[in-house]
Symmetry: C2
Subunit: 205 residues, 2 copies
Amino acid sequence: MTKSTTRNLTSRGRATRDRIVETAARVIMARGVAGTTIQDVMAEAGVSTSQVYHYFSDKSELVAAVIEFHAGLGDPGAPADLDSVEKLETWCRNAIRTQVERDFIGGCELGSLASELAETSEGVRMQLVQAFASWEAPLRRGLRAMHARGELREGTDPDDLALALLAALQGGILLTQTRRDIAPLRAVLTTVMARVRDSVVAPTL
Amino acid sequence: MTKSTTRNLTSRGRATRDRIVETAARVIMARGVAGTTIQDVMAEAGVSTSQVYHYFSDKSELVAAVIEFHAGLGDPGAPADLDSVEKLETWCRNAIRTQVERDFIGGCELGSLASELAETSEGVRMQLVQAFASWEAPLRRGLRAMHARGELREGTDPDDLALALLAALQGGILLTQTRRDIAPLRAVLTTVMARVRDSVVAPTL
């Protein structure tokens, strides 16, 4: 838990806290958690020591707020419902376009944090699990809706497909980041979506 | 390039250098590159300052040797040939078993390094690309052999499937590590392999 939850803040306090967290998210994305100091964040956000320590007791609280921030965003590329092959393919195309627009730099905000922090403490790990779950939720909701409408073949587990898509996104982005090349992300999303397509029952005409 | 290539070493020098690199790989796996000092490695390997600096000018050279070490191992779970669906499925089962045996702790040696180091320098990034390529090679070789024998449907790109499998492995391990649960790795490898199965031409009987 962070020192001050956003609940108890004035709108001005909340804006300052948000600025600190968003700045920290940006700096951490560029340098990693280990490479980021509270001083770096203060300098980038243009806030004083007393302001930062008003909201966060220490760096670990600030990092926790950054994970919460990414979890709260959910998957920024996810539309409200992903309950058709076409909508899921659009989600994949958005993920691909985002990496192309970033010149393949930086990787996935959440994946990079998870890789760096998964082994640091049980509390941080649980936060990362929650954050991934919030990204997985729209995929799962969409595939479950398709399943409930009888659109997926018998034996198809919509939760497994949702998890496979999230894992494909993570691994694809990591290889795409490393290679500076969209091929890995495109190949793995194409392959998983081809399987989703194969799982759809052909309609009676 | 490291200060002394292994070529110019006596067998005893080579053994010492190998011990330093293997120890560094283990310590980095547990604490990350940023969390590991040359002193940590010296203490763990039981070697002196002068010994370490005889082989490596600085930490970045030692890290480079660790990446080379993982690349040289290739994918430790890969048998010589992966040129059938059954052999590829065995490769997947080995990857799953490895994570179960490790209690899902630590993630992928190479994936964790890539996530931490991909943005540090162009030289390190290229080393990581090579290391991933050495893991991808047996998958690609196996699927290309199947393709050359006419076992894959027309339009199937064996290189795309190999890349998809490597990306699935990476993303699956990251989520499995974070969740301490085999479900993500199993779901994504099952999904990609189902697609590989679908790509195989049924034999004429």
